[in-house]
């Protein structure tokens, strides 16, 4: 039974349930690369071009680790995953970036859901192509597998929307709530973000991310801007930040960005200005890359948490 390899990087952190459900339903075995380590990052950094962003460098590391362990590498060309938005140019060229690095066959269906009109036709086409590449001709089986994958994905979203983190086992009431915005592959990869979520939880705060909120809600709020954003994750982060400060859902916002991220350089600027203009929430921009050191990172976080606590104390009349 051939083995499908899925690098544990980039949109693995959002769509793995879908992919896993699809492949296992067809009877294939799915392997992923190991969680990110310093070694993964080092190897990625040595192979990627210097100018590229940190997540892509991490992706290279996962790709190289994985390609010896599987028969097919699954690397969809994710052009667009929702109408009227792209992800980022690098996702559109992703299979091309690593084509020269391996002799292993790459499964690279194009997923382009940019147009509302043929959304399902495109999605079906991508599933069919993937199945056909592996020698499955029965449309019924592929359809079944796609449905199974979509169901798994739905379950994943539902579990995320339940915002109380299952890892937070302390029975204490949280001291407050901190919103962390960023791409899924920075927020949910602890090696990339220096275990930020755990750090905040240990400090007694509940953490929410844009992925804890329904996508339609975030998109609707993001589209209130004068011009509709054309990046999926740009919409999510702007939508989440505005939702949080408009409805006073959090005590502070952390914008977690990776060095060299093109879309964040634009959306981050807009978010920072909006937050400053329209609210008085504490806001922290944290940039991570392969050189980020723990000391500087945690010092800034501690200062940020102190600021939130001072504000709460002043509001509560303790000072």
């Amino acid at each position: 039974m051939p083995i499908i390899g899925v690098p544990r990087a980039l949109l693995y952190y959002e769509f793995f349930p879908l992919w896993n459900g699809f492949f296992t339903s067809l009877g294939w075995e799915v392997v992923t690369s190991e969680p990110t380590t310093k070694g993964t990052i080092d190897q990625g950094v040595s192979m990627a071009v210097d100018e590229t962003c940190f997540p892509i460098k991490v992706f290279y590391g996962h790709f190289l680790e994985l390609c010896h362990r599987c028969d097919f590498i699954f690397l969809p060309r994710l052009v667009s995953i929702e109408p009227r938005a792209y992800i980022c140019p690098k996702f559109m060229g992703l299979p091309d970036l690593v084509r020269g690095l391996t002799t292993q066959p790459i499964l690279e269906p194009v997923v382009n859901l940019h147009s509302n009109k043929d959304y399902w036709r495109q999605l079906w086409g991508a599933a069919q192509l993937t199945g056909a590449k592996m020698g499955i001709k029965s449309n019924f089986r592929i359809g079944q597998a796609l449905l199974c994958g979509l169901k798994e994905q739905q379950k994943h979203y539902q579990s995320l929307n339940n915002i109380v983190s299952p890892e937070n086992t302390s029975t204490q009431k949280p001291r407050g709530r901190i919103g962390v915005i960023g791409h899924p592959y920075t927020i949910y990869d602890p090696a990339v973000n220096m275990n930020l979520l755990r750090f905040l939880e240990n400090a007694g705060y509940q953490v929410v991310t844009p992925y804890n909120f329904p996508n339609q809600l975030l998109t609707a709020i993001a589209n209130e801007l004068p011009k509709e954003l054309f990046w999926t994750y740009g919409r999510k982060v702007i939508g989440a930040a505005r939702l949080w400060y408009q409805r006073k859902l959090v005590d502070g916002i952390i914008d977690l960005v990776t060095f060299g991220c093109g879309t964040d350089s634009v959306t981050g600027e807009i978010i920072e200005r909006l937050v400053r203009r329209e609210s008085n929430l504490p806001f922290l921009l944290l940039t991570v890359d392969e050189h980020t050191g723990e000391a500087g990172f945690y010092t800034r976080l501690e200062a940020f948490i102190d600021m939130i606590q001072f504000k709460a104390a002043i509001a509560g009349g303790d000072v």
Binding site: V79, P89, K90, M92, D96, L97, L274
Partner: protein, 363 residues
């Protein structure tokens, strides 16, 4: 009301032609300078690409001179350029400027909105005047491209270095004043033959193709006068990215021609890059192949640092280089780029070219 626009190479001449025809008072931003860049860097987002910062600086300088309406191009992604105007407007708002931004979105998204704004600006829609201005502007863009191509042949072989450039600047000044199509055509002819005389029948022995992101190719300030430097080093620059191409590609509706053009590019880039990646990423790959087929000895790719489409192109270009047997140099520019470093890299690259050609021939 006083209108202004950002600089991008010689686009000011094209815009002047259009705006004058519409009877608008123009306050052009002062020529892009170190001060422009400093202003843009100080107020712009740190990790944004260079064109955003420079054009922001242009706007700030123009506002100082009394401009009230800022004209800027838009886009619908995935390249960041499409959102420049939005970020710049937020920045200018926070700095306390009450200016209006008139954003030229490409036809897919916002023509109706654009026409509405234009109507508000002009108090009506003078279709004939717009058409006249557009025709003249496009004619001027093509004129600039023709003469500049001649200039790029002249620079490496002119007897006295800098003469060609001086003539070209004189041409630009006169072209800006021209009010009719006939005048434009005449100026083009005159200066083309003038530059050809300066060549005295010589042709540079080394040709280098320039590809990359359009702004950094067209705007000499952003690339430290790369094209002029190459000329001074005795290299004939060849490129497909020119002003008139960009305008017609972005702002016209001639979709049949555009589709044909795109098909050609897509087919050439296919073995290396199978999907469009925004900006000029696909073009960078396709043009590298095209220019080498047409006789270039090497390719220089130039782009702003963190440019997403060009990073994708940069990643696949080594394979292109291997397959066509010509070296490719990638130059990323930002506000830190200094002339000395650039010059050194260019000289080293050019030193290698003849050696590469010899080894190609002997093998």
């Amino acid at each position: 009301m006083k209108v202004t626009y950002p600089h991008m190479g010689t686009i000011n001449i094209v815009l002047n032609a259009l705006l004058r025809e519409l009877n608008l008072e123009i306050v052009p931003p002062p020529p892009t300078s170190k001060k422009t860049l400093e202003l843009g860097t100080a107020h712009g987002p740190e990790f944004a690409c260079l064109p955003l910062k420079i054009t922001l600086g242009n706007f700030l300088e123009a506002l100082e001179q009394g401009a009230e309406i800022l004209i800027m191009a838009g886009g619908c992604g995935p390249c960041r350029f499409g959102y420049y105007a939005q970020v710049q407007r937020e920045i200018l708002t926070d700095l306390g400027h009450n200016s209006t931004m008139l954003i030229l979105e490409p036809p897919q998204t916002g023509w109706i909105d654009f026409l509405g704004k234009l109507r508000w600006l002009l108090g009506g829609l003078p279709v004939r005047a717009f058409q006249r201005g557009w025709t003249l502007g496009m004619a001027k863009a093509r004129a600039i491209d023709c003469v500049e191509e001649e200039l790029e042949r002249t620079r490496p072989v002119e007897a006295l270095s800098g003469v060609g450039n001086a003539e070209f600047n004189r041409f630009l000044n006169q072209l800006d004043q021209a009010t009719t199509l006939a005048e434009t055509a005449k100026l083009t002819k005159t200066y083309q033959s003038l530059l050809r005389q300066l060549q005295e029948g010589r042709r540079a022995s080394i040709k280098v193709g320039v590809v990359g992101e359009i702004y950094t190719v067209l705007e000499p300030f952003s690339n430290q006068d790369l094209l002029q430097r190459l000329g001074a080093l005795g290299v004939e620059v060849q490129r497909k990215l020119r002003l008139s191409h960009w305008i017609s590609e972005h702002l016209t509706l001639n979709s049949r021609k555009r589709r044909q053009f795109r098909q050609e590019i897509t087919a050439l880039a296919k073995p290396y890059l199978q999907y469009f990646v925004g900006g000029h990423g696909l073009e960078s790959v396709a043009h590298s192949i095209q220019l080498c087929q047409e006789g270039a000895s090497g390719i220089i790719q130039v782009a702003p640092l963190t440019c997403m489409p060009e990073i994708v192109a940069e990643t696949v270009l080594p394979q292109v280089s291997k397959d066509i047997g010509k070296p490719i140099l990638t130059l990323f520019v930002d506000e830190q780029t200094a002339p000395a470093g650039l010059q050194t890299r260019l000289e080293a690259f050019l030193d290698l070219l003849p050696l590469n050609d010899i080894s190609q021939h002997s093998s």
